[in-house]
Symmetry: C2
Subunit: 325 residues, 2 copies
């Protein structure tokens, strides 16, 4: 369920009156995304997405996200552009929630990732990192390495019910990850997406080949090791349904990324531990949601154990070569 | 949750190749409707809705629904038009489900019904009935008066847990409704929508007034007493949040309906019992879903008791005048 907040006719019309977007033509809830309420909005000016920011997003951080999106689009990334109201402000309020309208991005996210998606992904990710280079404001990664021990602690009591031995295995894995984590200053830092899963990347087919048409959902973006974003993609795009790691996809991501923004030797060397860290991050947030979401809640809980297998895979990777580097 | 079936990239592209709709531009699940999976589909030819028919819809009945929609649109109703593939067939298959593409209908359904919506509603309902006049094929109403006793029987064991005394009250109410139900042939019969709730009726604002832009979701349509469709609307559009019956709204519906298709004296006289019947129908299907839906299911159960209050209201209506007639 992706629509949490209903919007009354009057509230919507009053809200739209503060924009120069013409007349309302259609307004329908979108069944994708799990963090916010998203509506497809059509006006005489075109297609847009209206987002109401729900409780997981800190209102004070919204200007950072919207400013980053505007900056990235201004610097050539294809991403939703926040639309300013008549008074110049893009961040507004609707139905008691912070709200923003962004431009509609054509494209379809890949339900099944093919190797041909991965080159365009790596290229666009490098483009995102380059476009963010001179965005000056810092947003620390609230789900970065420092957050993992407290997250694991919060799951300690119930984690065993998910799988016996899970907590002990995660304790050991986390200690190893933190011991090997890059020192501050060792690797380049910048604005990263931090959640670049296939459902956040749109493609259009062109001459039978997928062309990346844009990147959406910047609400986990933060200032973090750039190579960590690559590690998230290796987690999110390169495992097959049978849990095997598709090194062809990984190579395509890394090759295209490095062609646009060459990774340093230090970044490449750190990639395996960054992949373990990214697996740990998604495992822990999924585990936290799993043990804290009532079974009857209208939310699809994602299986945390999928990431236990990814974590184990990366823990056994002997070097960057094993993961496509 | 309104998307039950995921569609792979390959399956979607193969499916669209059988239409002359140009290139795929976007494909997003819609979070509305509870019976089928609906996707907003954008191609270079325009905007469409792709529907996958889920288990509640009998595949053998789909040609009737799609033919009716084509007939109604051809006779002037603003409704989604099923789009035929290159071979002329509108009903196709996708992801193992029967599937159809319909034209996109602009408009927004009213989250809060105002009296100004009700005149256009009555007018369009009469227009629907007139447009359906020469549609020759009959579809009996599977949720008509004959179905209510078996439905109530199916809820007998668990109904008391919803509210003590509920089953006995419904037994008595149903007996009274069936005793007063119009004899076959007593009232005009035709093609009815049978589920014309506000979320199935779209409006656009024009000079500050709502203009009805179209009617959607014909998958409960059937061949039934025309005045029963009016009774469904009186149930669905005229009660306020505080459970009071807004007779101004009812009058607006009835007046506009009769201006286009005059109701006979017999239809008007039968309206109170038809309203009780319509209340019973929605009460029973909601009650059935309530007692048969696991608490953890990803479906919003609708409160059956809302319709108990409507049933009681109509049972106390002394004549058509009490309900706006």
């Amino acid at each position: 369920m992706a629509v949490y907040t209903e919007v009354s006719d009057e509230a919507l019309r009053a809200f739209l009156a503060d924009y120069a977007l013409g007349e309302l033509l259609a307004f329908r809830g979108i069944a994708e995304g799990v963090e916010n309420s998203n509506y497809a909005l059509k006006t005489t000016a075109g297609d847009y997405i209206l987002t109401l920011y729900e409780k997981r997003v800190e209102p004070a951080e919204l200007p950072w996200f919207l400013n980053l999106m505007q900056h990235l689009v201004a610097h050539g990334l294809s991403a939703p552009l926040p639309v300013a109201g008549r008074d110049g402000a893009a961040l507004r309020e609707l139905a008691g929630r912070p709200a923003a309208i962004c431009t509609f991005l054509p494209g379809v996210w890949p339900r099944r990732v093919r190797p041909e998606h991965c080159g365009p992904l790596g290229d666009a990710l490098a483009g995102l990192h380059l476009a963010g280079q001179d965005f000056p404001d810092v947003r620390p990664n609230g789900l970065g390495a420092a957050s993992w021990a407290p997250l694991l602690d919060a799951c300690r009591a119930d984690g065993e019910s998910v799988q016996p031995g899970l907590v002990a295995e995660l304790d050991a894995a986390l200690a190893a990850i933190l011991a090997a984590w890059p020192e501050p200053g060792a690797l380049p830092v910048g604005q990263i997406h931090a959640d670049l899963f296939p459902d956040n990347v749109f493609f259009l087919e062109e001459d039978g080949k997928p062309r990346l048409s844009g990147i959406i959902d910047f609400y986990f973006a933060c200032t973090e090791l750039l190579a960590y974003d690559v590690a998230v993609c290796l987690n999110a795009w390169c495992f097959e349904a049978d849990r095997s790691f598709n090194v062809t996809k990984a190579r395509a991501i890394l090759r295209a990324y490095s062609a646009r923004r060459p990774m340093s030797a230090a970044e490449l060397a750190a990639l395996p531990v960054l992949c373990r860290g990214a697996a740990m991050r998604f495992l822990l947030t999924r585990l936290y949601d799993w043990v804290n979401t009532p079974a009857g809640a209208m939310v699809t809980r994602k299986d945390p154990l999928e990431y236990l297998h990814k974590l184990r895979f990366f823990a056994h990777a002997t070097g960057p070569e094993a993961i496509g580097g």
